[in-house]
């Protein structure tokens, strides 16, 4: 018995802490200088799933779509208690908009097998769209509950949750299976467990190995590196780490619905926000300066 949960997580650039080092001289952001982090609300989605498993039994599988480096957040999930992790990494999935992403995620969830819950963070801090959760629920043909603020109870294959509706809250009851998006007030994510870190820190997906070898052995020839990659892949194959690497073929995805081809929305233009000083008047911090400013605002009817 118990409940089987699938948690969708994402590795994102830390857009909330754009430091001076990440700013270019022209006032725009250098994305490469931003650290990659665990999308904050996804940690709360994971915690919700772990709490359900701890109380009722069952399993927690985490799923992420991204480049090989995104395995970092999956290892983090394993350290915190997830049972199984899947990285969906495939160049053909690049440039997917939210619709194509939700198609791929839904296909992957179906490939994982029967489930009771899908949890996602409400939104990722790089795009802030909050769309992939609801879009995935639609593709899976299951109900959705967004803005989960508190898990109230589960019984008889029905779940009650409190959701934040902006100007208040409501408690709703949903039948399983259901997809829920979680906000950060829902719980306090547990820390990584030291024993799990020790046991799983060498867990890798195959796609990480070539990058790792290149980083660790910069002075060697291609042949030497290739031999090392093969050695490490063979060693990894003997371990039974609970992390897997999937591609679009593994989930039977229709390529016309993935990547650029499957994305109705296209980015036409991107403008960096550059700080400008047009039409700016400096007012001296004196009684006289302030009085003249107030006068000016009254004259132009800004102040009634």
């Amino acid at each position: 018995m118990g409940y089987h949960s699938i948690v969708c997580v994402k590795q994102v650039p830390d857009t909330a802490n754009v430091t001076a080092e990440a700013m270019k001289e022209d006032g725009t952001v250098n994305r490469a200088a931003l650290p990659a982090i665990f999308n904050p609300e996804d940690l709360h989605a994971l915690e919700t799933a772990l709490e359900i498993r701890d109380s009722y039994g069952g399993t927690v599988t985490v799923l992420s779509m991204g480049p090989p480096k995104a395995a970092d957040v999956l290892r983090d999930c394993l350290y915190r208690g997830a049972d199984r992790a899947i990285l969906l990494t495939d160049r053909r999935a690049a440039a997917s908009d939210t619709l194509a992403t939700s198609y791929i995620i839904a296909q992957a969830i179906r490939a994982i097998g029967p489930f009771d819950f899908v949890f996602c963070g409400r939104q990722a801090i790089d795009g802030d769209t909050a769309q992939v959760g609801p879009q995935t629920a639609e593709k899976l043909g299951i109900p959705q509950v967004t803005y989960l603020d508190e898990l109230v109870s589960i019984s008889d294959r029905k779940v009650r949750v409190r959701r934040n509706i902006g100007h208040g809250w409501e408690i709703v009851e949903a039948r399983l299976p259901v997809l829920m998006t979680v906000i950060e007030t829902a719980n306090v994510p547990r820390p990584r467990a030291a024993r799990r870190v020790m046991r799983l820190k060498r867990a890798r997906v195959p796609a990480e190995i070539p990058m790792e070898v290149r980083r660790e052995m910069p002075e060697t020839t291609d042949e030497e590196r290739q031999a090392e990659v093969e050695r490490r892949l063979a060693a990894l194959g003997k371990e039974n780490f609970p992390i897997e690497q999937w591609d679009l073929d593994r989930i039977g995805a229709d390529l016309d619905r993935c990547g650029l081809a499957g994305s109705p929305t296209k980015v036409f233009r991107v403008q960096a926000i550059v700080l400008t000083k047009e039409g700016y008047t400096e007012i001296p911090p004196t009684e006289d300066g302030v009085r003249k400013l107030i006068q000016e605002l009254i004259v132009d009817h800004t102040l009634g």
Partner: protein, 342 residues
Amino acid sequence: MIPVNRQGEVWVFAEQEDGRLHDVSLELCGKARELADRIGVRMGAVLPGAGVRDLCLTLIGHGADVVYTVDDKRLAHYQTSPYARVVVELIKKHQPQIVMYGATPLGRDLAPRVASAAQAGMTADCTDLDISDVTDPKTKTVHNNLLLQIRPAFGGNIIATIVNYDMWPQMATVREGVMPLEPADPGRKGEIVEEKIEIDESLLALKLIERHLQPKTVNLKGARVIVAGGGGIGGKDSFKLVHELAGAIGGAVGASRAAVDSGYIGKEHQIGQTGTTVRPALYIACGISGAVQHRAGMEESAKIIAINTDADAPIFSVAQYGIVGDVKQVVPMMIKALRERK
């Protein structure tokens, strides 16, 4: 998805609760009216609910040529699946070229579900919309009168313009308060179309157990003048100056996240990306450094006065008037000057 449909209408999803239309829906009616006129098509509103007939006239007054309403007791309280079914069926039937939704908690729950079911695009949280001819850089094909969906992204550090060339309808959610709420014209004429959509019981997947609405105590969006305080004020006591200045002007009190996090004032006063977006006639930023997340919520204000001791604070980049000085000295001067005029 629907094919490119040049005669398609420009639609607004009309959000209502307990017989009241949400302000953002009326803001969007004004914008949709403008866009529809520029393309030369009709503007429609979609209104699901129970007992909402009176609201059709309000939507017509705000610019709708036609209101498609679905009146059904099962739509009395919003829930995702039946509402999404209604909107998707109407999109299939009438093939609008543009559909906009308020980026409210409800709109952000509904719109992506509709997009997924309709296999269409959706751009979240737009802060501006425009119509323009666009050349696809890949194929060099010119697409006439496309909807430019303009939104901040990457934590507000960039502004992205999104388009949808041919997998229509072109859909977007739009942030509250970024479009002006135009006054209604009660004399406008429009058509009301009562639609019947089959709502299968299986769609009513959620049961509402309890609901608690917090009355709005702070009306930042409606305020003509906002006096906002930031972390630079330095303490809860000094923050009283912000309240005093707001009182002297007759404005509302806002705050940056730093001020809220420091406990100077409640979260309901927060302005910015995670708070409220405002566009008052005058915004006075007191001791606010102006992080991009804050600027995203206030830079559309008609006039901005920034008061800060740090002359390099980013808030000055969006201000028309800057006072480099201590809030604790400058604000009392402003209060005095305001009182003198009376």
